[in-house]
Amino acid sequence: MSEPLRRLLADGPTAIALGVREFADAIRAQGGTVEEVAWRPPETVDPRIAKLAERLL
């Protein structure tokens, strides 16, 4: 067993949660530790702006 897996099983999860809020709430309800990310989809870059930025760089 790898060291990171051994530590996960020995220490239990300390989570970073992205997405459905209920899953983070559920970890808290069980006494677990979780840091929630207010996730959003990445901004879509307009291809024209991307091309311009490419030229400038």
Partner: protein, 497 residues
């Protein structure tokens, strides 16, 4: 913001809010709130993915604005009896959408969250599938294991992520992973079970939930349950997470017995997984779904048998599974009461593993393909852009009504799965629909029988006893395992001339 109105017999309104994102469970609640508004016949709040655009079109909730909406745009659509009713409902919208500001999270990325919680060791990812792969990779690069509830991640990407995780000594549980329990803490959908010496590995989320719940209800306990994702045992993925999880539980001193719950492995992956089972050095009970021969020792065919075998090997005194009294007589009465046209079993499952198991059991009992229709409502194609049916009852409600209106259907077979992450009152969510379905069937001179498998423990937030009572009050025959539910359905509808 764009507002449009199309007057036909009813008023249809649509609002498109560009680049405004909410998760699918929150939007489900917004939809339900709009649907409860006076005069509203149908409502939907969704991200404008292609799948959701199709669903809006199917529901007749379309205005011209929908065509140009993008996947990262929020769409709210409703149909109401009058323009006034539509406008009033939309006026409610501002407060419905204001709720997320109460979210305390202000970290916008994994890196910011990790700076606050440097001891974090796992990322729990339930973002839309199109974005999940990038977030998993980011998590792995930061040394985090990943629990990936998100589905619809391309298999090539899944394979690359799992190879990367393996190189780093990390575990990717998923994508399309329903459950895990690590040292007593559930991730995703998980039941409240005591700790013990039985470890579980598998790509079958609801199957793992049935096993862990039955182990608990039998008086034993779970060391860890490591989900691997529904595709892991395929040749496209090669069982990478299954093997890593088996090796981990084999080395874990607290685990004395392992249960492997899996869909059938691909031909070239089978040997890899069998080798991991063989080298475990401790008993491994294998429960492989589908029509496959038992390849290894201690192979069983159902989740119920898997739990029983593991508890026996673990050496605990086993509490027998509680079966409702007078079940055989009830089944016989229901069979007698069927109309001549009623020969079919309709399975409407939230759990894909349950659907697979029911399908196999019914086939083995001689229920022909024409006499059974088993649907996995949680499959990735049906959950793209909307919540899983263990959270969102709407799709199953629609299918229950459709089934009750079909004069051929004798039995509607379904699952109710409790635990953290699942709906707060899954039985209550369906009770009203079951009553309506019965009424519709009776108008057609038929009695449709409802049979539910109920998975969970008394410690679950919903309470096993409360949920059982709620289902029984709705006239449902409630049994404690999927296998028994399938057999009960066959007892009523099987072999009818």
């Amino acid at each position: 913001m764009t507002t449009a109105s199309t007057e036909t017999a009813m008023a249809v309104r649509m609002i498109v809010r560009p680049r405004e994102y909410f998760d699918s469970v929150f939007l489900m609640r917004v939809s339900q709130r709009l649907e409860r508004a006076p005069g509203v016949r149908a409502a939907a709040a969704v991200m404008a993915t292609d799948a959701n655009k199709t669903r809006l079109a199917d529901a007749g909730l379309v205005t011209p604005e929908l065509a140009t909406a993008r996947a990262d745009d929020l769409v709210i659509a409703l149909r109401a009896e009058t323009s006034g009713a539509a406008d009033s409902a939309l006026a409610e919208l501002a407060s419905a959408l204001a709720a997320p500001v109460t979210i305390t999270a202000s970290a916008r990325t994994i890196d910011i969250a990790l700076a606050r919680r440097p001891d974090a060791n796992v990322a729990v990812i339930s973002v839309p599938g199109a974005y999940a792969g990038a977030e998993v990779r980011h998590a792995l690069e930061r040394g985090l294991h990943a629990f990936v509830f998100s589905g619809n991640v391309p298999v090539a990407e899944e394979r690359a992520l799992k190879e990367e995780a393996h190189r780093r000594g990390l575990l990717v549980m998923g994508p399309d992973c329903g459950t895990a329990i690590v040292r007593g803490v559930g991730l995703g959908f998980a039941n409240v079970v005591r700790r013990g010496v039985i470890g579980v590995v598998g790509g079958s989320g609801t199957g793992m939930q049935e096993v862990t719940s039955l182990v608990h209800n039998a008086g034993a306990g779970i060391s860890h349950a490591l989900g691997t994702g529904s595709h892991d045992a395929s040749d496209a993925i090669g069982g990478i997470s299954t093997v890593d999880a088996l090796d981990a539980l084999a080395a874990d001193v607290e685990t004395r017995v392992i249960v492997l719950v899996s869909k059938p492995a691909g031909p070239s992956t089978e040997a890899t997984i069998d080798a991991a089972v063989a080298r475990a050095g401790k008993p491994v009970v294998t429960c492989i779904l589908g029509d496959v021969p038992a390849r290894v020792d201690r192979a069983v065919r159902t989740f119920e048998e898997a739990a029983a075998a593991a508890v026996t090997i673990a050496g605990g005194a086993r509490v027998p599974i509680a079966v409702p009294g007078g079940l055989d007589e009830r089944l016989a009465r229901e069979r007698e009461a069927l109309a001549a046209s009623q020969r079919q079993i309709r399975g409407l499952f939230a759990g894909g593993s349950f659907a697979l198991q029911a399908e196999r059991i019914l086939a083995e009992m001689g229920v022909g393909a024409g006499a059974r229709t088993i649907v996995d409502l949680g499959t990735e194609s049906l959950t793209d852009g909307r919540p899983h049916p263990m959270i969102d009852p709407r799709l199953r409600r629609e299918r229950i009504i459709e089934a009750a209106e079909d004069g051929r259907v004798a039995v509607i077979l379904f699952d109710v799965v409790l635990g953290h992450g699942a709906a707060p009152d899954p039985a209550g969510d369906l009770a009203g629909t079951i009553a309506s379905a019965r009424t519709k069937a009776r108008r057609g001179g038929r009695n449709v029988v409802f049979i539910a498998s109920l998975t969970g423990t008394e410690g679950d937030p919903q309470g096993l006893g409360r949920q059982r009572a709620s289902l029984e009050d709705a006239g449902v025959i409630v049994v404690p395992t999927t296998a028994r539910a399938a057999r009960a359905a066959e007892a009523i509808a099987g072999g009818r001339p």
